[in-house]
Amino acid sequence: MSKYLVLIFQDEVATKEAAGETVSADYQAFMQRRGRSLLGGAALEPAETATSIRRDGSGGFSVTDGPFAESKETLGGYFMIEAADLDEALEIAKEVPAGVGVEVRPVRVAS
């Protein structure tokens, strides 16, 4: 089995509207259905609450307000899942009721 991180992307506007809401029924249904493959996950506060830290290249940091990459779609939450291979991971990820879509990234295994 391999681990994958499923990053959930949302429209900023939609995220704001949904803020304050608890886990929606769609997500609850998904989590129930795929419970055995889910290792963890969380919804995130809107991207405007994010703080980014960049190395300035000379040993220091620059701390700025906002997400690391500016885009219309922002990271709204994630699941850590376990699947036999990418096909199974994609199958699970397609069921995530994410507004815009998801990114599936294999978790690196030390070799």
Partner: protein, 416 residues
């Protein structure tokens, strides 16, 4: 019995062309990863050169190469495992029975299918899918794949390495997809094979009209898929399309290697057996259900191939087929071809009007066949000044020397 070195070299070259995919596919599962498998297969071909010279060419070169490559893969695994002080967990239990390749012919058929579905996995970038297919299923070197797509070898090598790395890191499975997904996945595979073929049929650029090697690879891949998935109507449709298009190959250039349009081709030079086979396959497809895009394109090619002459061509039939094609696959290029068919079926002015409307299509903005088709209809309509401008536009956009030479001669005729 020892064999002459020229004989051995020829046998190895032949085995490379015919058996590469077969041997590699059968080795990947044992090797656990594509890089190891490739290295083991390359070693097997190298050792064939020396071993066949002293012990004679084996009766079944593919089986010999498979056994040798698999043994080599197991050796490589053992060495790596010893180095890492870890057990070779990836190994298949069947490694024990390596000496009996005949036993698992079925498996090996499946192996090639697995390999092509892995290479054409939608999680890989489209150009990487094509590169991997040429590299792993056709056995082309990275340099050859790079040349085929007019890219520096380093760029292509990086692309192939990245794709292989993703196959490993993301665990893209070495497996034929399950039924619910199979349909769309087959379509992706066929698109790759069709792209390989069309890139060879009319080279996007360069001195020759065709990249014969690529056209042949595409042809072989289409045939391989048909052997592996004989009952699939889209696979059968693609093979029919390739056969019916390829049948005209011998008539596309004259003795001065100048382009001859279908209108003026010597139809006795068309490959009758290929046409017959294509038409028979098309018949099979139509029995399997409503035709997909490849079968429809094959049907259009078949109407041309079976017409006695250009003036005998049933343009109404072709137009009807394009209309059906538009329902399933309405791409700008299909629209362009439909407009041309309309010109011959209804009238040049009507065809021209459709072509003019396509001028707003951004995806055709750099496509030389749009101004070339406009130029042709304008010439037929006697609007020579506008035709000249259109030919000049096509000349600017075309990168293929043979096509440019043809366009230039049409332009010269209009200057007289």
């Amino acid at each position: 019995m020892p064999a002459a070195s020229s004989e051995v070299a020829a046998a190895v070259a032949e085995a490379h062309r015919r058996e590469w995919a077969f041997v590699l596919a059968a080795t990947v599962r044992i090797a656990g990863d594509i890089d190891t498998a490739e290295e083991a297969v390359q070693d097997a071909y190298a050792s064939a050169l020396s071993t066949w010279g002293t012990r004679g060419i084996p009766e079944n070169p593919g089986a010999w190469l498979t056994v040798t490559a698999r043994r080599r893969a197991v050796d490589m695994h053992r060495r790596a495992a010893t180095a890492q002080r870890a057990l070779p967990k990836l190994l298949d239990p069947e490694v024990q029975s390596l000496d009996d390749p005949g036993r698992e012919t079925e498996d090996i058929t499946d192996d090639r299918l697995r390999l092509i579905f892995t290479c054409c996995h939608p999680a890989l970038a489209p150009d990487a899918q094509v590169a991997l297919t040429l590299r792993l299923l056709c056995g082309l070197s990275t340099a050859d794949v790079a040349r085929a797509f007019l890219l520096p070898e380093a760029t292509m090598a990086a692309r192939i390495t990245r794709a292989k790395k993703k196959i490993g890191a993301a665990h893209i499975p070495y497996r034929v997809p399950a039924a619910p997904e199979l349909r769309e996945r087959v379509d992706g595979v066929l698109s790759v094979v069709y792209l390989v073929y069309t890139t060879g049929h009319t080279a996007p650029s360069g001195g020759d009209l065709m990249r014969r090697d690529l056209a042949e690879r595409g042809h072989e891949l289409a045939r391989m898929l048909h052997v592996l998935l004989p009952g699939d109507r889209d696979v059968t449709g693609l093979l029919a399309l390739v056969l019916l298009t390829d049948a005209r190959r011998g008539a596309r250039l004259d003795e001065h290697r100048e382009l001859v349009l279908m209108e003026n081709q010597d139809r006795s030079k068309w490959d009758r057996p290929a046409i017959d086979e294509g038409v028979a396959l098309l018949g099979e497809v139509l029995k399997l259900g409503p035709p997909g895009r490849f079968a429809l394109m094959a049907a259009i090619a078949a109407v041309h191939d079976e017409s006695k002459s250009w003036s005998d061509t049933d343009w109404q039939e072709i137009l009807g087929l394009y209309d059906l094609l538009m329902e399933t696959w309405s791409t700008p290029v299909v629209k362009l071809n439909r407009a041309i068919a309309l010109g011959f079926a209804v009238g040049y002015a009507e065809g021209l009007a459709e072509l003019d409307a396509l001028g707003a299509e951004p995806r055709l903005a750099r496509y030389p066949y749009l101004p070339a088709a406009r130029a042709d209809f304008l010439t037929r309509l006697g609007r020579f000044d506008e035709a000249r401008v259109a030919f000049e536009e096509a000349l600017i956009l075309s990168d293929n020397d043979t096509e440019r030479s043809y366009l230039r001669s049409r332009l010269c005729e209009l200057m007289e």
